[in-house]
Structures are given as C-alpha cells and as structure tokens.
C-alpha cells in the first residue's frame, strides 16, 4: 500500500460556513420570524447574533481556525477552500454544514425542511466546483418520511456522499427503531448512501451559545450531555432497536463524537445483553451487541487524546479522521504534522486507513 503522503489525506469531517443570509433571502417571505437569520437585537441588547430557530448563536467565533490563517472565505468560497486544501496538503474534505447543524433543532419543521433544501442546493453548487476535492453531506430533517425519501434522492443527484439526519427522531415522531422509518433506511441502503449522525443535531442545546448566567452555570453538564448524546440512539434504535439487523448493508457514521468513550460503551452494551439479560428484557440480536460498533458503524475522530490507545479496541477499519476545519479547536494547515504525531504508534498501512482509506471506502470516494 502506498503511504499516506502519496494517496493523500481525506478529512471525513470538515465544515462549510454558510452565507448568513442564505435562508433569509429565499424563505423570509414565507416563514417570517421563524426564518434562520442574522438578528441585531437579543434580550434587550444590541449586537450581532444568528437566530437558528432552536437557539440564538453567539455569531462570529465559529470559524476561528480559518480566521487565524486569513482564509475565512474557505467557508463559503470553494476556490479559497481548494487553496486551503493545497496549502494543508489535504486531498479531499467531506463537508458538513455549520449553521445548518444548529438549525436542525428548529421546532417549525416546515421551515426546517425548507432550510435543508436551501442548504443542500447551495452545498451542491459548492462541491460542483471540484468534485474530486470537495465532497458533500446533505442535511435531512426527519419529521416527514415522504419528504425525507424525496430529498435523499435529490441529495444523491446533487452528488453528495452521505446524508446527515437528526440525531434523534424529532419530538412527536416515532423513534427511529419503529417500522415507520424502515422505508427510509431501505432507500439509503438501496442508494448506497451512508447515514450520518453528527453532534449538535440532537436534543441537547449547544452550550457555546448560552447567554444568561443561569444557562452558563449548566454549561459543563450540557456540553457533556451533547458529546455523549449519540449513545442512546445507537443503543435504543440502531442496535437493540434492530435497524442494523434489518438493513444489513446500511452504513452508519457517528461524526464528531470522538472515540475514546466507545470501548466502555461497548462493554456496557454487552453487559446489558449478557449479565443483565435476566432482568432487562431486550430484543434478541443477530450479533453480540458490541460487534455492531466494530462492524457496522464508522466513528469520526478529530484529536481524541486517547485515540491511539482506543483504535485497536474498535478496529482500524472503523475510524474516520476529520479536521473539523474551520471550527474552534480544529486542525488546519498543520494537518500533516498533527496526524503524524497523533498516529505515530501505528504502521503506515493503519495510518493510511484512518486518514484516508476508511473515508474513501465509506463515502465511496474513488
């Protein structure tokens, strides 16, 4: 196998920074103040915020990593993004939303669906600039099955390699494990479209955008709840809820949750299935519960301090490195030395899989 230098690095989790007026222009006439947009007054104070529908964002600090290197436009201008990639010696990035991730908690689902459509169209045009280097993740609201089925097909046509859904089925909807959603999993499986669960798209608010001292007093608890929020949906819906058994070739990706929580989580899953089974009536699974995490789910990591220690326990084939660029604490122009250091204890072949090969496989990047 060639070394990672010759094959190139693929960031499996990078971000665009959507133009802040992207939704206001096409949707305000229809949805009025529900429309995600810049606002200049909040809680009686003047300033600049972004109203997502679910939260009011402290706007301006999200792309610090690109600001610091004078390449802020890489967030919305594909030409600048490709320049960044060349400078960072990155061959390709799988691009997620930024504002759109937070908009996923919008309580007005008609507005949310319209926001997804606007975003997907915009991202489709962004990646069309260079389809080899720029890969896209479509955003799908999950309150209306018929719409989701239609939009996932449109995402495929737009050239996306993956669709990101709500981390949990929205309130008022049946949970993902219910047969109601089976046509969606079947469609994604048929289209060979991986389904991604990304941090911040669940039910826990982002504490970075808390405003009052009372809210901020709960920041550590909220931050942790957000970082571990994926555990419940994996256990309840995808594993014990039988989705992975019913759709044996469906690809599921957990994005930006890091990975060192996984060994403990896998042990807990097996514990439920084995030691606790006398008192915990659970559905019978085709496999050992932890094996679904090792064989059916891919796991995104950025700079998990225990990454190198954890990867062998999960499997070298399941880890997708992503830079998170241009977000706070992300990895930018220093990607190469950071990766070399992070995965120094692994063989070249294993490193290659983590920083490119696994992403190429799961996202069908050839």
């Amino acid at each position: 196998m060639s070394d990672s230098k010759s094959m190139g690095v693929i960031s499996a989790d990078s971000h665009v920074m959507e133009p802040v007026d992207m939704w206001e222009k096409p949707l305000y006439a229809k949805f009025g103040d529900d429309t995600p947009r810049v606002i200049k007054n909040f809680m009686g104070r003047s300033g600049t915020w972004f109203h997502t529908g679910g939260q009011v964002m402290n706007y301006g600090g999200s792309d610090t990593s690109s600001q610091q290197i004078g390449m802020q436009a890489a967030g919305w201008d594909p030409k600048v993004r490709v320049e960044f990639q060349k400078k960072a010696d990155i061959a390709c990035e799988v691009l997620n939303g930024t504002f759109m991730l937070l908009i996923m908690r919008h309580p007005n689902y008609a507005c949310l669906r319209a926001c997804c459509e606007v975003f997907n169209t915009w991202l489709g045009a962004f990646i069309a600039h260079d389809r080899t280097r720029l890969r896209g993740v479509g955003m799908l609201a999950m309150d209306d099955l018929a719409w989701s089925l239609k939009e996932v097909e449109r995402c495929k046509k737009l050239g996306f390699d993956c669709v990101n859904i709500h981390l949990y089925a929205p309130p008022g909807q049946p949970p993902y494990r219910k047969a109601h959603w089976d046509p969606f999993w079947a469609k994604c499986q048929e289209l060979e479209m991986p389904v991604q669960l990304h941090i911040i798209t669940g039910r826990v608010p982002d504490p970075i955008h808390f405003h009052t001292p009372a809210e901020q007093g709960d920041s550590p608890r909220t931050q942790l709840a957000m970082m571990y929020e994926v555990m419940g949906v994996l256990a309840n819906d995808f594993i014990f809820g039988g989705i992975l058994d019913r759709f044996p070739t469906l690809k599921v990706i957990c994005s930006e949750f890091e990975i060192s929580w996984i060994p403990n989580f896998m042990w807990r899953l097996d514990h439920m299935q084995d030691a606790m089974s006398v008192r915990l009536p659970l559905p019978k699974l085709k496999e050992k519960a932890s094996d679904y995490m090792r064989t059916r789910v891919w796991h995104g990591m950025i700079d998990d301090a225990f990454g190198a220690e954890t990867i062998p326990e999960i499997g070298f084939d399941r880890i997708l490195w992503g830079s998170d660029f241009p977000h706070v604490r992300s990895i930018g122009l220093d990607a190469r030395p950071r990766l070399k250091k992070m995965f120094a204890s692994f063989s070249e072949a294993d490193r290659q899989r983590i920083v490119a090969g696994n992403a190429a496989h799961v996202f069908n990047i050839h």
């Binding site: 550590p220 942790l224 555990m231 989580f265 220690e309």
Partner: protein, 367 residues
Amino acid sequence: MSGNGALKVISGDSHVMEPNDMWEKTIFKKWGDLTPRPVPEYNGKAGNFFYSGAQTLIMGRSDESAKKIGMQAAGWDPAVRLQFQEQAHVAGEMMNATRMLLIMQHPHQGVLRDCASVFNDWLADYCAHDPKRLFGVAMIPMGDVDWAIREVERVVKKGLRVADVPLTAPADGPPYRDKVYDKFWARCQEMQLPVQLHSITGRIPDPLHFHTRDEQETAPGVLLDLLYEAMGEVANEFIFGKILDRFPTLKFILSEFEISWLPTYMWRLDQMQESFAARLPLPKLERRASEYVKTRFWHGMVDDGLADKAIPHIGIDRIIWGSDFPHIRSIGLDAQSRVAKMFEKFPPADRAKLVGGNAVQAYNLAN
C-alpha cells in the same frame, strides 16, 4: 495479605436487603399511600411489587446472587451476613441500601426524610452486630439542609461511616453548587465524614423496573443514562460548581458507576477548560479539571471489563473495588478468585490497595 496468601478483601460497595415492610410498619399512619411498601397489584396485574414513591419495583430478583448460594437472609440478618463473609474470605463490607436507593427518587421530601431515618436506624442496628466487619452507609436526602446536618450527626453517633446523598439535588430546589448546601459540606468535612454518590439515586428511573413494552424499548438508553448520570453532576456541581475548591479536605466517593469511562471523561473536562475556554465561559478553578477526578474522588468498581487499562490513568490509590453482593451480576463466594483474576496484572501491593486498602483510607475504616 493474610496468612494463606489470600488478599485481605474489603468490599467497598455491598448491599443489605431491607425488610419490605420496614417503612409501612413505621410511617404508614403518617404518610398513608405515599409510604414505600409492598403492593399486590400494579396496572391491573397481580404480582409481587414494591412501591418506592417514584417507581413500582418488580420484586423478588434483586438479591439473585444470595439466593443462588442459599444465603438470602444475609440481606437482613447480620449473623448470616458474617457467615457469608467468612465463607467468601471477605474481611468487611460497606453496606449500602437496596430499596432505599430507589426511594431516594421519592418526590415527597417529607416522606423521604422519614424513610431515610427509619432505614438509618435499622442499618445501624444491623451493623452493630459486628462493627469491625459491617460498615454502614447512611442515606441522607438533601431537601432540607438543616435536617441533613442533624441526621448525619445522629447517624455518626450510631456508628454509620458514610453519608450517601442523592446524586442530584432535589428537582424543586437549587443545584448542589448553590451555597445553600455549603453548611452541609462543611459539616461533613469537619466530621471527616465521606460523602458518597451512588448510582440510581439521581433522576433517571431504573429500567430494571419498567413494565410496559414501550418503556422496555427505551431500556438500553435509559440504563446508559443512569450509568453515566454522575458525569454531568460531578462536572457541573462538584468541579466547575467549585464545591471541591471550597471544601478542600472533603472526601467524595462515586459508587457503582464503574471506572473505564473516566479517562475520556477527564480529557473532556480538560478540553472544556482549555480548548473551549474562549467560547465556553466557565468558572476559574484552582486546578486542572481532571485533577479533581484523580485526587478528590474515589471511584467504585465491581467488574469493569476494561479496568486494568483505566486504572493507571486514574491512579491506583483512587479505585475501590466492591462486590455489589447480593445484587444481580454481583460477586459472592468467589470474591477471592474473581479479584485475583481481575487485578492479576497489578503487583501485590497495588492489588491490596484496590481490594481493601483504598477503602480503608477513603472510609476511615482504620479509626
């Protein structure tokens, strides 16, 4: 080490099985149907249930491990408990509640306080049978801080060793970081009384007692919420809420949460304090956030499958093994062989700390 090469094993987390009618006999007249008690029917089904105040428990299987070895009475009869300890070569046990743990979620604080006092009296009598082998953990609801202080003073006089407080402050009151609780922490510190946070005493229901199909479908996620419930509380209240900074010699014990979640948790705490500092306004701490987990808490484990990898990251001095006997999946007569295998990678001196030495230190058992 004892003479025959066996480890001196002290379980840092074992359980009594309270007589089911303990509360009905004593407080039913005062509290009526709010009283925790056996109930013969639930949701139209006849059965063997126990009303805890927050849930209706499915009874009869909590002490599976004692039943299997014909020593069920070890749960309520201290003489049988000592027989069990002799047979298992266990030198002593920290005795936690079973039903009273679940009663800690009772929404009525007046009932809860009375339940705790009844339990504490009963447990003190149980442990008085052999105070050198039976170490009692008092249950202290926190809805009334002055009462909580009076109760810890009362139960310490009766010989109980630890104050177990609900994992989360009462839902209708301020969180633990609020200074209203400071006089309680101060009193425990002054009395050198360790404070314990045990699983199941927070706000998450115990999914082992779910009844309907819809509830049971959510059981895996709810169980995970329950097993990880300490994370948020420790971070928000005890570390960033600065209880540990304000009370620098107060001892805290996390009980039955296991330990292999801790290394990544400590990294996340430091990440919040450092990498996210620019965007996450947090109180300034006297130390690095992870240091509190390593130096101010003791961490209880039963049979964590990844313990040997986790322990070096946390510190050999901070881990307290407990059998969880007689609960389901607990360790009983095979304690010596199980701990020997579990900790075989550690040198004998470290093993001795894990299976008893640290418990002696944390719970002041040498006194």
